[in-house]
């Protein structure tokens, strides 16, 4: 039952076909232009993106609450049957955690004393902004979520997004009332990290798979399954020491990390406002865009690694530049020994 409307303009078929084809070519070309503009991160495109996010945020917030209610009801009904067991487990965990708290307080005191002894600059203050996840179904080619907090709540581009377990991603776009978080698993995500107890430097690179890859570590660095991966703070955007995940797979040229974050229960995110002025500058972006050459373990890689990291430290972390630069050169490997 085709109901195509009659040809109102009475055009001859060849002309109509030509008009159709040229319309197709026109819009195809327009799409290509958008592609290029979007890839070049044109400010206008970014403004449109944030405006759309802002516009859709209230609708999604509204739509999220019934879903949340239904899912919460299911969860709480199930939990009702497990209350006694859960209570006992929590009591035990609480006791254990109290011991840990005591240990943490002792360590913090000790840490403060040692810092005073070393006259180390105190890390900048951090503030947390809690935001609800209101959109998360991006499809196959992107790993990002939309949250219901924006510039008016103090959210800024580059801030770290955390769950209770660890780092989930970073703020990629900020609107007035909504922001998009690029998850660490996205193929555009690059996070400078430290690996294992030796705190070897590397970059955690997402590739849209559940387990991001570790790149750019120095040759000769021993990485083992079970090594903890935390943010390094290099590049300045993130505080150092935020937990990300553990190494789960070590193969030649392919080291995989399993993030701590439970992606299927991403309901709230804490955005870390790391109050350090003028720090959200280029080093990390430079890596992401490929301005700094990929540093696969190679003979000459160590030297340029040290250079790149040294300039990053010099550009960003002025407060602790001396300390950081020293550490960086050591991490750079045998090629450049620190000049003591």
């Amino acid at each position: 039952m085709s109901k195509r409307s009659g040809n109102a303009l009475g055009l001859a078929t060849p002309i109509r076909a030509w008009a159709q084809r040229s319309a197709f070519v026109f819009f195809f070309a327009l799409a290509i232009v958008l592609l290029v503009l979007g890839r070049a991160q044109t400010p206008a495109v970014e403004r449109v993106r944030t405006a759309v996010n802002d516009a859709i945020a209230p609708v999604l917030e509204l739509a999220t609450s019934p879903v949340a209610t239904v899912s919460d009801t299911i969860v709480s009904t199930r939990e009702l049957f497990e209350v006694r067991a859960a209570n006992e487990a929590l009591r035990q965990e609480n006791e254990r955690l109290l011991q840990w708290r005591a240990a943490a307080q002792r360590l913090e005191d000790e840490n403060r004393l040692l810092r005073d002894l070393n006259q180390l600059t105190i890390e900048p203050r951090t503030r947390y902004i809690t935001a609800r996840v209101i959109g998360d179904q991006g499809g196959a080619f992107v790993r990002s979520v939309l949250v219901s907090a924006g510039a008016r709540d103090g959210v800024e581009k580059g801030q770290a997004a955390l769950t209770g377990r660890g780092l989930a991603g970073r703020v990629a776009e900020t609107g007035r009332r909504a922001a998009r978080i690029l998850l660490v698993t996205d193929m555009n995500s690059r996070v400078p990290v430290l690996v294992g107890n030796a705190r070897d430097r590397a970059v955690l690179a997402g590739d849209n798979s559940p387990n991001p890859e570790l790149l750019y570590f120095s040759p000769g660095v021993q990485i083992r399954v079970g090594d903890r991966v935390v943010t390094s703070g290099h590049g300045g955007a993130f505080p150092s020491g935020l937990p990300i995940g553990v190494v789960t797979d070590v193969r030649e040229n392919d080291v995989r990390v399993e993030p701590y974050v439970d992606w299927s229960h991403l309901e709230f995110l804490r955005l870390v406002d790391y109050e350090l002025p003028g720090i959200l500058s280029s080093p990390e972006d430079g890596l992401a865009k490929g301005k700094i050459q990929p540093l696969k373990p190679a003979p000459d890689a160590a030297a340029s690694d040290a250079n790149a990291a040294g300039s990053a430290a010099a550009a960003g972390e002025t407060g602790t530049a001396g300390v950081t630069a020293g550490a960086v050169v050591q991490a750079g490997g045998a090629a450049t020994e620190p000049a003591q």
Binding site: F24, A31, G135
Partner: protein, 169 residues
Amino acid sequence: MKFSLWQRMDAIARSMFPVTATLLLIMASMVPLRIPDLAPIIPSLSLIAVYYWTIHRPDLMPIWAVFVIGVAQDLLSGSMLGVGSISLLVVRYLVISQARFFTSASFVVIWSIFALVAFLAFFVMWIFTSLLTATLVEYSSATFQYLMTLAVYPGFTWLFVHGQRLFLR
């Protein structure tokens, strides 16, 4: 015979149904459903909608609307701007060029053709994303998203058929 203002507005509103419904579906598919591992393989409803309406009412799914739907999809999902438009435009082009074939085709045939067209659409998205990022983008979730889209096609077709009967007589 003259139409009153209300009748004309009513007709316009009805003729906007395909595009409006598609945009609403895109928005609805953004809402977090808290179903584990659904997010990367959420079916592409815009693909189904553009395919269906281009076959059945191409006059109500004009090429500029296809373009706008693609842009909206890209903006809302946070994926690369333009990629969605390109793949939807390809879908429209394929369907329009074979319009005569579709008029007499049965549902199963149309569904089978959709399998081909959707495959091409995902392939186009994958190619462009890979080209732009200069990497071979991981394709397993795209494959699953394709299969999911194929699986939910009959359900949404049913929805569109009823919408068509309700709003477009």
